[in-house]
């Protein structure tokens, strides 16, 4: 790929089926050497966007450029640059793992002499040594997922598109798969979709949040958390009269808003305070409340990516982490 061109460029890409817009005016760029997480709830348009980048379906409007090649007009050239793991691993159940990988390697144009070594490489990377001779229909879900990943890695493509690559894996396999992706992301571009937040925090340099087919935010995980830090929360459980508690909390410096729920049967109130980002605000609240009432619980909610995510996709940034 030419060094000048970004690995993946989406220019106001939309996909409509009839009158329903599944993806609406999405634009972003993925550079080489960067792992970008594509985050959104189920049905947000992640898979449709991935399929458009992979060239499985065409965009209704807008342009998809892969390593500078327009997916609509230059499909074969663009496809050569991409390793793609669809949401459902595309496997031929009747073939054994080695013949399956050999087929994909052949189609990807890997020279006969290099093929055996290349298959060996992805088999090792994806820990498939134990099953290379097994027919694919006999494999467990975790193995199927990893055979799909191995297929995508064949030929070391410039760009790796992974649609929920860790779905169906056990924790150990998830760990290994993340290592594979991380290692690959050093000098290639990786776009991976997921709804697991820990995944993007752990391995992605940038996160794109999508919901209802619209791109809501794209930034580094830290950047998104900084933005969310403005809406820090402190949660309290106190035995106290409602008005008195509200008054006490409102008087503490740093508390911006107080929201008190209905008391439980034994008179315990749950209060949520929106506070600013200053240090020690929860200690000040604790001092003020504990002096007058019985304080049962106090918790400061850190700005997790989950809160960021929930705020964007549901307007519910205060939902429990």
């Amino acid at each position: 790929m030419s060094d000048a061109a970004a690995a993946i460029v989406l220019e106001s890409v939309s996909k409509r089926y009839g009158s329903t817009a599944v993806v609406h005016d999405v634009s972003f760029t993925v550079e080489r050497g960067e792992i970008v997480g594509f985050l959104g709830p189920n049905g947000a348009g992640k898979t449709t966007t991935m399929r458009m980048i992979a060239g499985f379906i065409a965009a209704t409007s807008g342009r998809v450029l892969v390593a500078g090649h327009d997916m609509a007009t230059d499909h074969a050239e663009a496809a050569r640059r991409i390793g793609y793991l669809p949401e459902r691993p595309p496997l031929y159940d009747a073939l054994d793992v080695r013949s399956y990988l050999a087929f994909v390697a052949k189609v990807k144009g890997i020279a006969r002499a290099a093929r055996v070594a290349e298959i060996e490489r992805v088999v090792t990377a994806c820990h498939l040594e134990a099953v290379v001779r097994s027919e694919i229909y006999k494999l467990s879900k975790g193995y199927r997922q990893r055979v799909g990943l191995a297929q995508a890695l064949l030929g070391a493509p410039d760009i790796l598109l992974l649609d929920e690559p860790t779905a169906g894996l056990d924790p150990g396999q998830i760990q290994e798969t993340r290592e594979v992706i991380r290692a690959f992301g050093h000098d290639h571009a990786v776009l991976l979709s997921t709804h697991i937040l820990a995944e993007v925090t752990l391995i992605c340099r940038r996160v794109a949040i999508i919901d209802h087919g619209r791109l809501l935010a794209i930034d580094s995980p830290a950047g998104l958390q900084r933005a969310e830090a403005q809406t820090n929360q402190v949660l309290l459980e106190v035995t106290a009269p409602s008005e008195a508690l509200c008054e006490t909390l409102g008087a503490v410096a740093g508390v911006e808003a107080v929201n008190i729920g209905a008391p439980t049967a034994n008179g315990v109130l749950t209060a949520e305070c929106r506070v600013d980002a200053r240090d020690g605000v929860e200690a000040a609240i604790a001092r003020a409340v504990a002096g007058r009432f019985a304080l049962h619980r106090l918790e400061r909610r850190a700005p997790t990516l989950e809160n960021v995510f929930l705020r964007y996709v549901g307007g519910k940034g205060d939902r429990a982490a």
Partner: protein
């Protein structure tokens, strides 16, 4: 071409790991064996004419079972998403798969050669007539498989693909019978020309006419081109 070749090899490898191919080949050979014995012992034929005619109809009814999985099976297994995103052109996918199916057809044709053994042992059949018959058989089969691949591309359901293909092929097989009812010369010529059966019967009589060869090849070509165009379009 190497892309089409890889698809072809994959296709053969998967065909023979599914029971359908074995089923179709055995039913075909058993059916042909039965018709051959019937024609020789009860009708008293000394050639392959009658048997070829029966084989033609067997082909029409059994090829949909070979072609049904060609693309519908890929949609169903989710592997279409792999094929269509690999650096393959639509025609390479369509051609590789088609040639895989034609290879099964070749195996069927080869299997029926056993019927020739007693013919040559106990009689003197006309070799040229038999060769013409086999040429017609393979050409007819190729046209059927191409039509079948087209319908397999149009639906996700293999059974639906097989049923539609069988209906269309039977229509083309019997359309020649309408000839007798047409007054207009043009319609008589048209129904005759479109008939898979009438072209086939000239081959069975030992006549290799360019009209017949061109007809089957053109039908195959049109069906395959439409299939490739459809795959491009459905993106």
């Amino acid at each position: 071409m190497s892309g089409a070749l890889a698809v072809y090899q994959k296709e053969l490898a998967t065909y023979f790991r599914s029971p359908i191919a074995y089923y179709v080949v055995s039913v075909f050979l058993l059916g042909t064996g039965y018709f051959f014995l019937y024609n020789v012992f009860f009708v008293g034929e000394t050639g392959m004419d009658g048997t070829f005619r029966n084989m033609g109809l067997l082909l029409i009814t059994l090829t949909p079972l070979i072609s049904m999985r060609l693309l519908a099976g890929e949609y169903n297994a989710g592997t279409a998403e792999l094929l269509l995103t690999l650096p393959l052109r639509a025609w390479q996918i369509v051609l590789g798969k088609y040639l895989g199916a034609v290879t099964i057809l070749g195996l069927i044709a080869a299997g029926t050669l056993i019927d020739l053994v007693p013919l040559y042992l106990f009689g003197t059949p006309e070799t040229s007539t038999i060769l013409a018959g086999y040429l017609g058989f393979v050409l007819l089969g190729m046209a059927c498989l191409a039509v079948g691949e087209l319908f397999s591309a149009l639906t996700h359901n293999q059974i639906v693909a097989a049923l539609i293909t069988a209906a269309v092929l039977l229509g083309f097989w019997f359309v020649g019978h309408l000839q007798a009812f047409q007054r207009a010369e043009f319609l008589r010529a048209l129904t005759g020309y479109l008939s898979f059966a009438l072209h086939f019967s000239t081959f069975v009589q030992g006549l290799v006419r360019s009209e017949g060869v061109v007809f089957y090849l053109v039908v195959s070509g049109i069906a395959l081109t439409l299939t490739a165009e459809y795959l491009e379009w459905r993106r």
